[in-house]
């Protein structure tokens, strides 16, 4: 339990430091940090599937992009959408999409699972890319950011980058806390058991498909939250957002940071965004050094960057 207390203390300090950022850094860095936190939510949601449940999905961006599209589609063209209703629609939409896709793809496993998640992601990409339901390949704009009021009081203004950053920070910490809670619960123990030995879980009486499906829906919904926030930040949604490239880079964040740790993928998001920026400054072919870096980490640090801190200790499996 000492581990949990240390974790809480570290997290508290980190949260305070992050909350202070807008008062110390200029707009560029605050917006970069916002983007990183959004991707951290996305990566943590994928970690629930890949790192904890052992379901390697290559189509996770489908939920990220779909939620973004839902915001764009429900937003009136030159007015602000209602934050609460548009967020509820985006989350419910990605949850339903995850339920439908999950019910199909979870009938497969291993390499087939990877392939069918990839196929569904690409199907969705082409649905938005090749048809005119939402602006085709150009995508669709969110001209005005949504507004959330509570009984007429507007606690924050998304047009203000500091406000938006703080809201995203709270969302990221909330998602982290939510996942920690779920992972410690009986449900969380079941999904980790499924990753380690699904056969034995079945023979112990667990209907593993149901648990995987609920997990898939939870992960899809949280990816939807990230996608919604990304659409708010960038004010535009396009088919790339739900394509293979976004799914794959989330997976790389997991590998970089260390999967099955929650914190690792968040760190992976930060490192990847920072390096992307650095390498882009140096060369047009920035993907090359990026690829080399990822290969090096994968080879030298099989537990990812968090493995440097936690050392030989296993990813948070089941010290029980």
């Amino acid at each position: 339990m000492a581990g949990a207390r240390v974790r809480l203390a570290v997290l508290g300090v980190l949260a305070l430091a992050l909350a202070a950022l807008p008062f110390l850094a200029d707009k560029f860095y605050v917006q970069l940090a916002t983007k990183i936190l959004i991707l951290a939510i996305f990566a943590m949601s994928l970690d629930l599937l890949v790192g904890y449940t052992g379901l390697v999905s290559l189509g996770h961006a489908a939920f990220f992009g779909f939620a973004g599209y839902l915001l764009a589609l429900v937003s009136p063209q030159y007015e602000a959408a209602n934050l609460w209703t548009s967020l509820a629609i985006a989350l419910a939409g990605s949850a339903v999409l995850a339920l439908v896709i999950g019910a199909l793809v979870l009938r497969t496993s291993g390499i087939y699972f990877i392939m069918v998640t990839l196929a569904f992601g690409e199907m969705l990409f082409h649905l938005f890319h090749d048809t005119s339901i939402a602006g085709g390949s150009d995508g669709i704009y969110v001209y005005v950011r949504p507004v959330g009021t509570i009984f007429g009081w507007q606690p924050f203004d998304f047009e203000d980058f500091t406000h938006f950053y703080l809201v995203v920070l709270v969302a990221a910490l909330g998602v982290y806390a939510l996942l920690r809670m779920v992972l410690a619960s009986p449900f969380g123990r079941v999904i980790v058991g499924i990753r380690v030995n699904e056969h034995r879980m079945r023979s112990l009486g667990y209907h593993t498909f149901r648990y995987k499906l609920v997990c898939f829906v939870l992960a899809g919904t949280l990816a939807g939250l990230a996608g919604y926030l990304a659409a708010v930040q960038f004010g535009v949604v396009n088919p790339d957002m739900l394509g293979f490239h976004v799914s794959a880079s989330a997976l790389m964040m997991l590998i970089l940071g260390g999967m099955g740790t929650l914190v690792g993928p968040a760190i992976g998001a930060a490192v990847m965004m920072t390096l992307e920026l650095l390498f882009q400054k140096i060369t047009d072919h920035w993907l090359l050094p990026m690829g080399v870096f990822i290969v090096l980490v994968a080879l030298l640090l099989p537990r990812g960057l968090v493995g440097l801190v936690t050392g030989a200790r296993a990813k948070d499996d089941s010290r029980g």
Binding site: S185, R189, G205, Y206, R210
Partner: protein, 256 residues
């Protein structure tokens, strides 16, 4: 075993068969397990004992025949459904959660008896009855003091004990044990034999085992399988003196 006739039949098969391609791994087997009895199944390697357990536990669907649990037909049910009906099994080839501690292995097993594990808010560690069932099973299997150790760091024999503890932690009324003593030291074996003698009162036990001393110490009924089929079945002493059985199987090992 005078009252054997009065004992309730818990698990029963009718003409149960399983083929792998052209091979009849289990061939037309009829057998019964009664409450309060140990029904031991012996036979040479490849006789089909493990396959038989797989058919009873739902790990494999049968090619033909039927399985009944009390009055209910369970033929073809999935293993999780059969487990929930109170049939617990252990594996010949240790089938545990290596990265988990011994306690967590038993705890996950015991947790399966919650009405549902779709519980997201409370920490799994705070379910007292689950913890107690897990601890009880670990003690029964002789693992007290070893609870906090990851199973991957336990000895092979201890991993075999974890295998048993997990099966017990689900609180089954019918036990299907596939060579529980294989790989255990003499002391642990004796302990498990003692445990079986204690457990039998409230359980129906199907025991596949190669250790003949253990088999004769606990078996109320003995079935000999060869090439997937039942060669002989009956009270252990009758089987021991059956010339056909001696020739096919016991003869060489029971030289003493």
């Amino acid at each position: 075993m005078a009252e054997a006739a009065a004992r309730e039949t818990v698990l029963r098969t009718e003409a149960l068969s399983r083929r792998f391609g052209g091979l009849a791994a289990v061939d037309n087997v009829a057998l019964e397990c009664r409450m309060g009895e140990v029904h031991a199944v012996i036979g040479p390697n490849g006789a089909g004992k493990t396959t038989l357990i797989n058919l009873l536990s739902g790990d494999l669907p049968p090619s033909a025949g039927r399985v009944f649990l009390r009055d209910r037909e369970i033929t073809g049910l999935r293993s999780d459904a059969i487990s929930r009906l109170g049939v617990g099994r252990s594996y010949q080839k240790t089938n545990v959660f290596l990265p988990f501690t011994a306690f967590e292995n038993a705890r996950v097993a015991a947790q399966s008896r919650l009405p549902s594990s779709m519980r997201f808010f409370r920490s799994a560690r705070t379910y007292r009855q689950v913890n107690e069932a897990a601890e009880r099973a670990l003690v029964q299997a002789g693992l007290e003091g070893r609870e906090g150790i990851p199973v991957s760091a336990l000895s092979h024999g201890e991993q075999r004990q974890v295998e048993i503890a997990m099966t017990l932690a689900t609180g089954p009324s019918t036990l299907l044990l596939d060579e529980p003593l294989a790989g255990m030291g003499a002391e642990e074996s004796a302990r498990i034999v003692e445990l079986l003698q204690k457990l039998v009162a409230g359980h129906a036990i199907l025991l596949v085992e190669h250790d003949m001393d253990a088999v004769f110490a606990v078996a109320d009924v003995l079935t000999v399988m060869v090439n997937g089929a039942v060669l002989a079945s009956g009270p252990p002493e009758a089987i021991r003196s059956n010339p056909e059985v001696q020739e096919a199987y016991l003869g060489t090992e029971e030289a003493h």
